[in-house]
Amino acid sequence: MTKRGTKKTLTVSMVMILIAVIFAGCSGNNGNNNAPTNSAASPAATNGEAAAEETPAAPDLTPVEFTINTSDDQLKWDTPINKKITEKTGVTFKYDLTVGDQFQRWDLWLASKDYPDIIVLDPKYTLRYKEAGAIIPLNDLIEKYGPNIKEKFGDKFNLLKDENGDIYSLYSVLLAKEAPADATGNFIVQYDVLKEAGYPEIKTFDQLYEVIKAYKTKHPQVDGKDTIGFGAYMNGWVMKHAFNNPIIWGSGLADHGNYTISDSGEVDYNPVSEATKTYYQFLNKLNNEGMLDKESFSMDEKAFQAKAAQGRILAAYSPNWLLGDAEKSLRAAGQPERAYAHIPIYFNENVVDHSNSSTPTSAGNYQWTISSKTKNPERIIQMIDYLFSDEAQVLTQWGIEGEDYSVVDGKRTVNPELVTKRQTDANIDYDRGFKSVGTGNTFWFGVGHGAKLADGDYSTPLTKDVVELGYDDMTKEVLAKYGKQVWADFLAPVEYVPGFLWQLTPPEATKVEEQKMDDTWRKNIPKIILSKDAAAFEKSWSQMVTEIDKAGVKKVNEAYTKLWKEFIEKYNQNIAG
């Protein structure tokens, strides 16, 4: 009896020790993960304190380091352009890289009150941080240190303000009157597909269907792997680009996210619209004929890019940024014919395209806010103000004179070496420092492609000729067949809109309903698109519509309609006053 007892105690204690060890291991890990963020910020802060005591009159150039969040793992400060910025302002950035879900990290920061000095947020989180007192109002600082910011924003300066007249975030302003020459349509079709079909005009989904079907029948495999007629990606936040945005662009509407706005200002949830149904029917047809990527529903955008880089995807909806460097790697691998034409495609011939729209500011998902924990925010504003100056506009968009551009006949011209490098070297813009944490539509608070500076020359090197210089022969050949110079020529003229719905802070009261609607939508898409026949499709579709109705779509539409109408009203007042 006693023997059994001791043995039992032994086992129990052994188990306990094991558990203790496991727990100790786990908690140790957590500790390590949190540590680095703190240590990075403190030396910068002490540096800054010393600097702040000096007189504010002359620009303060004492070295100071600020932390800033980014999800771009290739950004680095050690580049020629960045060094120049440091030389002019004394500021260096330390990039705080977010891997994975940035929203979660923003929440975590907010809860732990531990954030970088400059926090780059979307509108929703800017509001949350503001409510929590985590970021500071910038009005006084801009008044004192931001003459260039005020000058560049000009009559749009009021648009920076919230309902109380406070400015909490900064982003770039758009001064362009012309459309950027590098704009592209959002649908992609492989060059080889067009070539085989004899370069037909593809304007509608039906025409697209015909050409990819013909190609896939003729070439069931590319490099030993199955040809994918139409690519899609459902896993992760990019899913809306595969299952909502093509509908918006296909209808020729301005991109208001998952919503459409009628002329009278009524907001509607797009995933339950008739156009969505038509598009899903198109995808359903592709799927039933084995042309939709078999793996679409468990694939993320990285997998999509990988498949595109293998040259297997014939067509897809993919904005340029989403395609990543797939085309560069195809060209590098000596397969230029597998790269893509970037064109708009519509539901039918009669669609009038209003999708090429632009806002006066780029108050989007990249708003720079300043943490309340920062010791000397005036240095940040001084630096941003420098970035808004004409001198810095040239530096950040054109580069360094002699190295990246030279002045020919009084006009800035990009050096040919840089042009060729940009074609082949995916990292060149990172290495030179042209890329930064986003500020809206541009890097480094650029004022937009096609805008002009005080010297009368373009603020960015992006002209049709320059864009064309970046094309390879295959691209030029394809464009010539269509009688165009650049992809932007396929697009409709630019239309200015006061703003996009996704730039506004979503209504707080309906956030649960909205989450439910999105969940329901995501859950139902595979069922609808994988339907075996029309009847099954109809059934799955109406089931989704009913479920989304039940989740409160009406309430959300009303809330957004109210939000939009208020925004338009405020916008009109702001611009006036």
Partner: protein, 340 residues
């Protein structure tokens, strides 16, 4: 002859030694007991001071990290806003709990959480005991070690990698399993395993089993090695087969540890985390892959509704405690070893 003699003499000495040490223990105990009784509670405290001092750090850790944060439960009864803090937010009573139980989706995620936890629990319980028993019968040390190492290596691999391996393996676009089945003419077109909702629980259970099997076997193997070899020798003398020995000696020997471990894992059943479901799941199977923690993530953290998340968390804790208590009660009934 000579050898055998030595053997017996050794066994005898061992037995004598054991008896002697037992005797000394009893003497020691006898000398403590009356004293302790005399001095009462405080006498006992002083007697065990070394033990008490040694336990202080652990009690402190538990207090600081497990009991300290409990004050945050207040949030569950508030409309908590980060800016206002716990002190400034208004109280709303049980509203958050009412919200939980009114949400249909909550029952789905509860079902998924419990189903996947118990499937995982049973698979790992049975799987690891069977593997331990089998390994215990292996006589070649090298082979045994190799199998053990190979089976526990996946434990150290992150779930993200495991999920990628599983996804690639099951992919309809050139995935190994589909390719093999196609080659064998078992199927005409590839099966898209990862979007079949009703298969997700099974895929998840198998993936977890693969990842954790070897690891959970280690402890059972240790117990089996510690069993008294005399029992086996005796059984062999009586002509018991391998299977009989397993059934009558190994399994009963394992049971106390097994029940103990089971009790503890049942406490974790509702707290099983979300990592595996998060990386293995996708929107197509969300009805089966969504677990309570992912639900909390989307409807609390992502919407900054921390009160709701706290309410879910409280609910989870209560369920956990109830489950552990009931399993302990059952174990007591069946006279097995138990946690407390």
């Amino acid at each position: 002859m000579h050898n055998k003699d030595r053997f017996t003499s050794k066994t005898v000495t061992r037995k004598v030694q054991k008896k002697m040490s037992k005797a000394t223990e009893q003497i020691k105990l006898a000398s403590y007991l009356p004293q302790a009784k005399r001095r009462g509670f405080f006498g006992k405290l002083i007697k065990q001071q070394q033990l008490l001092i040694m336990s202080v750090p652990f009690v402190l850790i538990a207090l600081v990290f497990s009991y300290g944060p409990l004050w945050g439960w207040i949030m569950a009864f508030q409309d908590y806003k980060i800016g206002k803090g716990v002190l400034g937010s208004s109280f709303v009573g049980f509203d958050n709990f009412v919200k939980i139980f009114q949400d249909e989706q909550f029952y789905f995620v509860m079902r998924n959480t419990l189903a996947m936890s118990f499937m995982g629990l049973i698979a790992s319980f049975v799987g690891s005991i069977v593997l331990a028993l089998l390994l215990n019968e292996v006589r070649k040390t090298f082979f045994k070690r190799a199998i053990q190492t190979i089976t526990y290596i996946p434990h150290f691999v992150s779930w993200v990698v495991i999920a990628n391996v599983v996804t690639f393996f099951l992919s309809p676009d050139g995935g190994l399993l589909n390719v093999i089945m196609m080659k064998l003419k078992l199927i005409n077109e590839p099966i898209y395993f990862m979007i079949k909702g009703e298969w997700f629980w099974i895929i998840h259970t198998l993936a977890s089993l693969w990842k954790e099997l070897g690891w959970s076997t280690i402890i059972y193997l240790a117990v089996l090695m510690g069993l008294n070899p005399e029992h086996y020798e005796a059984a062999e003398m009586d002509g018991a087969s391998r299977f009989r020995k397993m059934w009558h000696i190994s399994i009963p020997g394992l049971m106390p540890t097994a029940i103990l471990l089971l009790t503890m894992s049942i406490g974790w059943a509702i707290n099983s985390g979300f990592e595996s479901q998060f990386v293995l799941g996708n929107p197509a199977v969300i009805e089966y892959s969504d677990v309570i923690d992912l639900y909390a993530l989307r409807y609390s953290t992502q919407l900054s509704d921390y009160s709701y998340g706290m309410a879910i968390n409280m609910f989870k804790s209560v369920i956990s405690v109830l489950m552990v208590l009931s399993v302990t009660y059952l174990a007591k009934k069946t006279q097995q070893s138990r946690l407390f």
